[in-house]
């Protein structure tokens, strides 16, 4: 089932990527740098966060006012910083999620690539709580909602016996200490985890892209700045625990699961989150599995020149002391746990030379299932079927199934593992031995190379910037790249093929092809502006829209919240002499005091209608602790006859404590019913 979906998503990414490249140029395509872009956004969040922290006051009374000061008193800078802080965080969720989907669709999470996948996923679990604690710190009505709902979610977990949500019902119970804890988590604790997790995510990759290209950085920063100025991030009214906001502008990037807590239940939300996480975590090992054999070193053809080790995108090839007694110092060694069989090492090997015919074509390093020899044989066979004047051999890769459609009488498609699998000498061989008139490297869309560096190395080798390079004698006008976008807009493989054919026939007619007119300045500027706008929309669209309706216009909220210990099951009693005699001497104490407590029976009625009726067992391993009641109800505004009763003595009918009176609820009002332990009576608190 996942197969067709994955292909659909993958081709969607390719199409959109191609479009973005046309608009923004290869350097500006965010889809090619989702991971690096996320890290760049973290930088923006960090820098703006430092500024916010300088002015933030970590207390219930100070937090809201200090943020208001930043937003309005310092709108020209602090306000922009706050908005950047929010929108860059929102954008980071978008890029992070897209990055995950992109790697999944491109099949870059299985097999040997499991490590990057597994170390990347926890980033989501760090980033989302970072956002949540951030919204908490502002202490506006959204923060109030976030605090209460977070507490309800955490209360569901069997960690704390008492209810954390009770801290956020009454103004008197919210403590500055809690604020300090949140500030610590948001400013130090979670960011530390984040940095460590990013390091873990990239350290095993050779040459990871940590910074996106400058164009992309500029475009995204511009987009965020424009968004910050046009729609500054604002607080939503000071937190007031005696009120429930009727509606909130919710940041759906971070808080999408929160409304579900009320709509379903905290347990259901946790089940959903745990289920999705589990699925993501085991994804690399879900069927179908396909592991081609890893690269193999042939010591007879390896002199230890290191080129394979230099080019391996996975750090899977290392140079180690020689084991065959030859005069060479080192030899290439493949780590089967890291090798993904991309063949990029073969493309780097100087002995992967198709002109070798006296000995078997066995390079120093080779893929057993698609060997250098097999590639040459297939090339020769493909070439023998080509006819016409513009014969082209298209070189595809694992990531490009559809390329086969290009094949016709003048076009043949060779499918190595990766463009980087083909040594440049093969291009020399094809053109000098007249196997074809041109070579087109196609395959993965630009920047989305399935094997990370295949395109980059191919471009550098064919461009004669990296060894082994295409010999100067080979006419590079006969070599095309479908993904090549440095100066020209990106093209589909079919377009690139047509373009190459055009060049070939121009060469045939011995005339130079007309140079492409350079893109005009204003076109490029407009394109970048469009890109920035696009980025702003992605970052800001769901930042406080759609509005989340917590309550209807004529509704109010009633919370029932208290802790109380039931009576002891039995009173202390003096043991009889016979009972004492039966005990070992060291355990003979005169009094027997059972610790076990009775369950609480609690009932809440409004206008005679039962809202809550439950029997709660005493907490603790020995059933000797307090029972905790926490429940929230939405009631129509107006006057209601409230009744609350509790039995703690184990009686079957009636109550040991009861309270009944009329309560008038304003729309949006939050009323708490609790139990005053000092006076042993219920209170209905309407402050």
């Amino acid at each position: 089932m996942a197969g067709p979906v994955k292909r659909l998503v993958q081709s969607g990414f390719e199409r959109i990527g191609l479009l973005l490249e046309r608009v923004l140029g290869g350097e500006g395509n965010p889809l090619a740098y989702l991971g690096a872009l996320t890290i760049f956004l973290f930088w923006i969040v960090l820098v703006s966060g430092v500024w916010l922290f300088l002015f933030f006051r970590t207390s219930i009374d100070g937090a809201y006012d200090s943020v208001e000061y930043l937003t309005h008193g310092q709108w020209y800078f602090g306000g922009v910083m706050r908005s950047l802080h929010r929108y860059a965080s929102d954008a980071a969720v978008v890029t992070l999620v897209l990055h995950i989907v992109h790697e999944w669709a491109g099949d870059r999470y299985r097999g040997k690539q499991w490590f990057s996948w597994i170390t990347g996923l926890p980033l989501l679990w760090i980033v989302i709580p970072l956002g949540i604690t951030g919204y908490w710190l502002v202490w506006d009505s959204l923060a109030q909602y976030v605090a209460l709902t977070s507490a309800e979610l955490l209360d569901w977990l069997p960690i704390f016996t008492d209810s954390m949500a009770r801290n956020f019902l009454l103004a008197e119970s919210v403590s500055n200490r809690f604020f300090t804890l949140m500030a610590f988590l948001h400013v130090i604790g979670l960011p530390l985890f984040l940095v460590f997790a990013i390091w873990l995510h990239v350290f095993r990759i050779s040459q990871p892209s940590i910074n996106p290209p400058r164009t992309l950085m500029a475009v995204s920063l511009l987009g965020l700045l424009a968004l910050s100025i046009a729609f500054p991030a604002l607080s939503q009214g000071r937190a007031d625990l005696s009120e429930v906001p009727q509606s909130l502008g919710l940041d759906w990037y971070y808080l999408a699961a929160y409304p579900l807590t009320q709509a379903w239940s905290p347990g259901a939300v946790w089940a959903l989150l745990a289920g999705c996480s589990l699925l993501l975590f085991i994804a690399p090992w879900l069927p179908p599995r396909r592991t081609p054999p890893v690269a193999r070193v042939d010591l007879d053809n390896c002199n230890g020149c290191r080129r394979c080790a230099d080019d391996c995108p996975y750090g899977a090839v290392t140079m180690q002391p020689r084991t065959d007694g030859s005069r060479y110092e080192v030899e290439a060694v493949v780590d089967p746990a890291l090798c993904v069989s991309c063949g990029i090492c073969v493309g780097a090997c100087p002995t992967a030379m198709p002109f070798r015919k006296a000995s078997a074509l066995s390079p120093g390093i080779d893929l057993p299932d698609i060997s250098a020899l097999m590639l040459r044989e297939e090339l020769e066979q493909l070439a023998s079927g080509l006819e016409g004047t513009g014969r082209v051999i298209v070189i595809g890769c694992d990531g490009s199934g559809q390329l086969k459609d290009l094949a016709d009488s003048a076009t043949a498609v060779l499918m190595p593992r990766c463009a980087g699998h083909i040594p440049p000498a093969y291009v020399d061989y094809i053109l000098s031995r007249d196997l074809a008139d041109g070579v087109l490297f196609a395959g993965c869309a630009d920047g989305t190379c399935r094997y990370r560096l295949g395109q980059q190395w191919t471009e550098a080798r064919i461009g004669r910037e990296r060894d082994p390079h295409l010999r100067a004698r080979v006419d590079s006008r006969r070599v095309g790249m479908a993904w090549e976008v440095a100066s020209a807009p990106a093209r589909t493989p079919a377009q690139a093929l047509a373009e190459l054919r055009g060049r070939l026939s121009a060469l045939q007619a011995d005339q130079a092809p007309a140079p492409r007119p350079p893109a005009r300045g204003w076109v490029r500027i407009t394109a970048r502006g469009l890109g920035a706008a696009l980025f702003a929309v992605a970052a800001g669209a769901f930042s406080s829209w759609p509005v989340f309706e917590l309550l209807g216009p004529e509704e109010s909220v009633l919370s029932l919240s208290f802790s109380h210990a039931g009576q002891r099951v039995s009173e202390c009693r003096r043991l009889t002499q016979d009972e004492l005699n039966d005990l070992p001497p060291n355990m003979r104490k005169p009094m027997d005091c059972p610790r076990e407590r009775r369950p609480l029976r609690v009932e809440l009625r409004a206008d005679g209608e039962v809202l809550y009726q439950r029997t709660l067992e005493a907490s603790g391993l020995w059933s000797d602790g307090e029972s905790t009641v926490y429940a929230r109800f939405t009631l129509p505004a107006g006057t209601h006859r409230m009744f609350v009763g509790m039995a703690d003595s184990g009686r079957e009918t009636g109550f040991d404590y009861r309270h009944e009176r009329a309560v008038t609820l304003r729309p949006g009002q939050h009323v708490v019913i609790d139990f005053d332990p000092a006076n042993d009576r219920f209170r209905i608190r309407e402050e």
Binding site: N303, P350, T351, M353, K357, A358, S432, R471
Partner: protein, 135 residues
């Protein structure tokens, strides 16, 4: 020009490099001998392909060693290597285009080719690898 004889001054003192130089002389001499008789064009072409592959790997190793010690004249050597590789590819194409006619020229240029290479990897480089004798 006759067969290339190994000369003491060819010795650079780096065992891996010396071994590859000897192997290369061997290969060139083989082609040379082949050309003396009645050569089979395919045999020559294939042998040239092997030499091209061998020197490509040889240069890759030398360049890597030079980079490792930060050899001052690396860029010159590198350019020299590229020229030599292009020469060899020219020889291969000349032979492929006209096996009969190119014969004597090939003999001459092969030997020249090798001595030119020695000008590029000389004893001074050896000094940069003080450890090489102990391997």
């Amino acid at each position: 020009m006759a067969l290339i004889d190994w000369k003491p001054e060819y010795e650079v003192g780096v065992p891996a490099v010396d071994a590859e130089h000897r192997a290369m002389i061997e290969m060139i001499n083989d082609v040379y001998r082949e050309l003396e008789g009645t050569p089979d064009p395919d045999t020559i072409e294939h042998a040239l392909g092997e030499i091209h592959s061998g020197i490509a790997a040889h240069f890759a190793l030398e360049e890597q060693m030079m980079r490792r010690v930060g050899w001052r004249e690396y860029e010159e050597h590198k350019a020299n290597h590229e020229e030599l590789l292009d020469d060899m590819r020219d020889l291969m194409d000349v032979h492929a285009a006209n096996p009969e006619q190119g014969r004597e020229e090939l003999q001459r240029r092969l030997a020249d080719w090798f001595t030119v290479h020695f000008a590029s990897f000389d004893a001074r480089l050896h000094a940069a690898f003080p450890d090489s004798h102990h391997h």
